[in-house]
Symmetry: C2
Subunit: 339 residues, 2 copies
Amino acid sequence: MELKQVGEFGLIHLLKDNTIFDSSSVVIGIGDDTAVTLPTPRQLQLLTTDMLVEHVHFDLKTTTPWQLGYKAVAVNLSDIAAMGGIPKHAVISIAIPQQLDLEFIVGLYDGMKEICREFGVNIIGGDTVSSPHGLVINVTVVGEVEPTNLVRRSSAKVGDVIVITGTLGNSAAGLDLLTKGDWENYDFAWPLVTAHLTPRPQIKVGRAVAELGATSMNDISDGLASELNEIASASGVGMVIHEANIPLLSETIEAAGIFGKKAVDYALYGGEDFQLLFTIEPDKYKLLANLDLGIKVTAIGEVVEKDIGVLLIDSTGSQKHLEPRGYNHFRQEDLYVHI
Amino acid sequence: MELKQVGEFGLIHLLKDNTIFDSSSVVIGIGDDTAVTLPTPRQLQLLTTDMLVEHVHFDLKTTTPWQLGYKAVAVNLSDIAAMGGIPKHAVISIAIPQQLDLEFIVGLYDGMKEICREFGVNIIGGDTVSSPHGLVINVTVVGEVEPTNLVRRSSAKVGDVIVITGTLGNSAAGLDLLTKGDWENYDFAWPLVTAHLTPRPQIKVGRAVAELGATSMNDISDGLASELNEIASASGVGMVIHEANIPLLSETIEAAGIFGKKAVDYALYGGEDFQLLFTIEPDKYKLLANLDLGIKVTAIGEVVEKDIGVLLIDSTGSQKHLEPRGYNHFRQEDLYVHI
């Protein structure tokens, strides 16, 4: 069915069902000039926005509408996780090209609603417009955090342990497989492709390490090298990490073999893993083992004096400076900036 | 200068100056995973988002980048005004096509910063990405309102006076002139073109009538007919308005003559005026005359029983039902939905 057949009110009606998952904080959802919410007293408000553009951030040949909707919200929740926060509400704008049918839009929203249901996030408004060219999705998420749990990227201290959640490089390896096209033929492809198409925001572990006293945190959207440099620069410190400590899936190593790449480069420069990178005092790092985080955490290095810079030490003991280049930062060919 | 010559950090550096106009409520602005704000205690939070797409919502041949930036923020502030609220913070996503140069982007942000400065709104984050086709701008604004001042669109009561601010139809007449192309030749064109390109959100009058006890309010983004129907439908009432009472600029009447249109149709179906439409008890309406609103307000009709519907009475006394069609609701050719 085409969109114009259902018209404005038909589309709103289809989309607005199952959008409120925590009604206690919603005064008005979809259907007035603005959404109206009740903030939790004595909490800070978090606000983040991400725009996904067809042919830049995604390709409709390699993602289902459901996966795309899930990811469009996930990348924002990941930013909330990196502050130690709890996501609360989302507003969603989409510019829809004429060739997309109603089924596509419903699938897209179903993916958004699924991740919102999972994390208790309310969809409380948006804007739906036509696009003369590709699909554009913009999601804005509001979150909350207790002032004592807010984790900035600017407070890493010399002597802190550098820690990451999960494994890195999966998403970039998955993207290589999706771009190649016959990934179904490889036994090892599934976790990589899944990591790329439907990344999971690390809300739970973000909360836990914030409560424990992480000194800085970023979500890994642009590759480990880029994120390390961001924290180092914002905190006025240096960073030394050990290549052998970066956790990689065996599947990522297999994929790297196919493409003649180094698996660790997927982790360092690949991006879109949406794991968390954080720094924490060594004593507190030891306490992480006692917590139910739901995901593995790995110490990969230590925070050092600023003049040392951001260094990678490889298995032979030789060291190199890690440049802050990431997956999407094709500065000469493209522009992709998160401000 | 081209964007790729300044790179990521150069662009952020250029854009992040002069973005905080009320620092008391900003904990972290541009430069971390999310913005962090301090909400005012005991206030409700308002959230609204609008996406503007090149060739759908604007044409770079008829707007300067400064005007476009101003308007992209203005349309969101207008939604905050319609709730009786105060705008506080904005996050801005833009997808930039390669052919736009740095000067364009700086001009666009200068227009955004000007309206933000004017209304004390902080720009606290965003996302800047590349676009393979046209320019896309998405602005999300957070506002606040005291629970007692919140004005919904669903609480109009039979017997209320229907009131609008300013004059209507200016923007649509201005768009006709801009589309025609030689508007500089017409003495009367300037206020109309200005109304279309740089609409002013009616924050001050929105606050004043909310405090006085307006029973319902909408901003007039889709034409008076559409907004009357929205309030009538949400409130379960009917509306009767008098054509002779709709305030029109003489310039709008002149423009209508050129295009062989009825001036009042610009007001009813034109849209993008961003004036306020509200309902209020007759006794309270009289008190408006004592207030310094900074803009004329005009009673155009009264709220009636639901089964009467939404009626327009013309100067001969004959009446017709007002259909909820507005400027952007080309349901058969296009899709433009605000949810």
